[in-house]
């Protein structure tokens, strides 16, 4: 569970009441080993994404959600952020039996994104010890 982890809910709407409703990607939980990312940090950074519904923490496409997740990783200076959909989380839960296998599901089913800025910042010591 090292680095940031983001669990999101993907919802694909059907045409509802003659109105077209597009798909949405909603952030449910965003956390690292230390705990949950502060709602204030999320809200402030969400406001920089004009296509997001910042009150509902929702994006219209996955690319925007990924860009947002990386933006948070940059802000918090974390090297990696893993995105996991609720559907994949559920597959992971199905196979998990205890706290150890539960923790592993994020590595196993999460889609890892590398924060390039953090990678670039790695100094000489970082390179030796990574």
């Amino acid at each position: 569970m090292k680095g940031l982890n983001l669990i999101y809910h993907f919802h694909s709407f059907q045409n509802s009441d003659q109105e077209f409703m597009p798909a949405s990607y909603r952030i449910l939980y965003f956390f690292d080993e230390e705990g949950f990312v502060s709602p204030k940090v999320i809200l402030n950074l969400l406001k920089a994404f004009p296509d997001s519904d910042f009150q509902d923490k929702t994006f219209m496409n996955l690319d925007d959600l990924k860009a947002f997740a990386l933006r948070v990783a940059e802000d918090l200076e974390v090297a990696q952020v893993r995105l996991i959909s609720v559907q994949d989380y559920n597959i992971g839960i199905d196979g998990a039996k205890d706290i150890k296998s539960y923790r592993e599901l994020f590595n196993k089913y999460g889609d890892a994104l590398i924060n390039q800025q953090s990678a670039k910042k790695k100094g000489l010591f970082g390179k030796f010890f990574s």
Partner: protein
Amino acid sequence: MRAMLDSRHVLDSVRPGEQWFCYWKTSASLWESRIQDYPKNEIIFIPVYWGFHAEENGTWDFGKYHPERDLVRLISLLTQYNRKFCWLLPLTPAPFLPNGGLPISSARTLSLSAEGMHLACLDQDGTLHKMYSFFEPKVIKYFASFVHGFGEMLTQSKGKFHVWGAEFSFLENHVTTSFLEDSSISFDQGFSRYLRKNYPDGVGLNLAVDEKKIKTSFLSDMRNLIGSIAQDALAPYWDGVQSITVFGSSPRDTIERALETGKSQTHYFKDLFESYISHRWFSTCLLTSKEKKDLLKMCLGEHFSSNEIEHRYHYQAESTDLSSDFRPYALIDVFDHYRPSVFDNNGLKPFIQDSFQWMYHLHQDLDFTPQWIDRSHHRVKFFHADGMERTLFAQMLKLFMMGQQIVLDISQLSDELDKRLQVFYLENNLKIQSVNFLTSIDLCELGEGRFITFEGDKLKTEEDKVNFWGHMFKFLNMDHPLVELDNDIFTLWRIRATSPHELNYLDVRRVNFYNPTSYKKLVSIQTQKKFAFMKVIDPIHAMAKTTPDGVEIELLPNGKLGLEFGHYEERK
């Protein structure tokens, strides 16, 4: 040695707290010694792991094949050692049981949260328990068969037994959600059957609101069905249904508890105190020794042990008059009748959260019983008119006639209730004093009773709301020390009658402060010339000093301390 014993107590998964005894977690050969470990005066609560008793052929084993399922022997041991006990029968998936307690053959569909996540909870020993849907048709069939068998076993054991139905829930983002709630395919299929049965001519679910309403009534019918199946089968022993919030069981908790840092003491304190003000009982059975340590353990022992447990299960009569024992004390009752946002919008809730921290109770319904009315007589009661029904309206007016202080937000008051209110004023010849301060306020008095109405929706800005409630509470003149403290400090007030050598006081109030954070915190208490500081009780990492206005406290990380005040009549 004492420390060793204490840690054994906490680590004990057979006895995980709140006087529970988890019989399936230990060998039946150890039951006898484990039962003897319980203090004789404590009631033992035995959760029923019904799936554990399932045999492959659809029958139930109560000891014929496995000694750990031998509930007849368990009863005879409890009786032999003269222990009071009662059964807790889960009416929902239970987060501390494998498969939520369901027999393997009926655990087919995993329960889903409203966000579509599988519900899974981490046990004390790190086992992940997955919750399975009660909406799977086989579950109800099996459940009915089990309670029938369980009832027969109790009848054959010939005794005076007590059974409580337990509805387990989790707490996340200040909202309590029953483990019965489910968004899985089993729920959807059940809902389709429900629609076909109850709306044979079809129903137009054009609006999400319509669908939500019908789903809520489906859930409510299902809850009633499960409850009535259990109640019918166990009628001679049935004591009622208890809602139990299981700490550490929400989807967010499962994530947080799996992290290296885990869920903090402060967060558990918040859960505990939110449950306390909402009058919901709780269980700490999932918590590890690391989670239930230090301050949390002390707070549970000081405020939520045997006496409080037995009050919650109505095994101890609650006397109206104060006695020599301390009892919980609050100043305010808020009734939201399932529309809590009204008190957020008119600013009451934020105000009391800030100014009367943990000194109020939030209720959805009014418990209009003589006992409750008498015991809560001193508390100011707040109602709102949005969606208010006639019965509640009439009961609220009766409370005023009985001499209680009532404050009603009349925004959204229906025409019918408005007419009734005007008739009430006329019939009782009540003089109305009207004031315009940020909104329109009407006040009438009858004996000690006060009835205040105001239009909450006219309070638009945050500043207006704080100003309005500040003046309102000044007018209501709460007889209580004024406490200034940080949000992460937790306090519990209790009250008792005076003893013969304290005759000068009206009553004695004790407050306990807990600082579960890792920071030093300061608290100031102003006694307001009505309270005399009496003594400091059991300080740990804390100190108190008196000042001309009252008392100042310094609480170090994990610090706690109690103070006692004598309440006296103000000389005029």
